[in-house]
Symmetry: C2
Subunit: 239 residues, 2 copies
Amino acid sequence: MTPDTLDGRAPLPLRPNSLREQIRESIRRQLQHGEITPGDRLVDVEIANKLGVSRMPVREALLQLVNEGYLVGTTRGFVVPTLSLKDIQDIFEVRRLLEPQAAANAARNLTPEQEATLREALARAKKAHAARDLDELAAANRLFRATWLSAEPNWRLASTIQRFVDQVQIVRLGTLKDPETQDVVIAGLEKIVDAFVRRDAAAASALMMTFILDAERSFFAAHATREAAGDNYQRHAIP
Amino acid sequence: MTPDTLDGRAPLPLRPNSLREQIRESIRRQLQHGEITPGDRLVDVEIANKLGVSRMPVREALLQLVNEGYLVGTTRGFVVPTLSLKDIQDIFEVRRLLEPQAAANAARNLTPEQEATLREALARAKKAHAARDLDELAAANRLFRATWLSAEPNWRLASTIQRFVDQVQIVRLGTLKDPETQDVVIAGLEKIVDAFVRRDAAAASALMMTFILDAERSFFAAHATREAAGDNYQRHAIP
DNA sequence: ATTCGGGATATTGTATCCAGTCACGCCCAA
DNA sequence: TTGGGCGTGACTGGATACAATATCCCGAAT
């Protein structure tokens, strides 16, 4: 029988090793890691040359990323969008609606291995915090979320969340620089891990909600101070 | 300045009249209208010939639809997936999380024109119900949802909802045949319209939730009876 | 009769090529 | 010096051509 039914499992891309998929994942990772920042332009032929492939798979990867909200297409190249405040609010609104429930589901389904990985991610986050290692902290954060999301049995829910998280992640990296925000994040993670290991779905849900609200608050607070300092995060043209 | 910022508005496709977009919309409409049903195979070169264009835009449209969950790609053509029961449950779970809030937001932002369109959609649904016109009832349903979703200011939320609705819509068409289900639907629409015209966000939210729960219940009830009758909705191979 | 294997074929994936369009910069004039 | 028009080029969109591959069918051997 042809696999024409989704049957609950995540739909693996048709050819997982297709150039399109590899390129897409590569760019997505660069976005997650902040190696490509808002305002950057992505030109298909450029990337194609760098990778030694033709334009077509690159183009398809870029179009897919546009479709997923990571990029916007202009008449003059694809660019990473600089999200407006309303955009950020909108994304956080969706996250508030989805993530608490997803966390509750994950808490019920967590395997011992996933629990161990969560603990590891927390430990790494703490160490990174102590060492003031921003990149490592962000990496631990990603591992943490990827892990509990993998325990969510509803893959549509999980991947929807992942997409929206990624989109704010780019800008969130900036707010993570603030030590006070880092404290809040670490404390939040700690409590959530605790709820997860206790398999306490209700607590996981509630804590995830406050975690998101904290992230939102800290972002807008940071933005306000930057605004007051006359420094727009969008990095407008320099006079 | 290049329009590289999303700024709250829906990101119109770069070239709205591009072949890719036209084809994508065409196929999406056919799916919504049940003109393409689960199990059908879509072959790019075939569609391309029928439309008199090359494979490339068709292929890109199909890939995009895969990305949005409408299709799955196999090694031998793109097919409309036959959703498993778990898939349906999963989709309904996401809808339960998103639509009540979206309805509340829409109730606060509804324009008089949109209100009028909602009334019209309700009237059409009633007439279709009386005339036992299933297609027209489904069309009225689509108009209804498209209208209130257009009042949702968070376009990411709105389009996410639309995608998930479309995916169950295909299979929901089957359950709408049941007259009793139709009664429930009409009654639900009536109450929701009432909440909308009163701009009662809380009521809209609650009613939307029960509306979805009813839809879910009626689907699984219908499925159970079909199951008991030995007739699987997936329409397995005929001996 | 049934199963295993090999080749034909249908269909996707990738490369190259051509066309159209929009942005930017230059140049000229006021 | 500044504003506006026009040309040029960079980039995307679409078409055509080529390669890779999984599936299906048929035949042969057990």
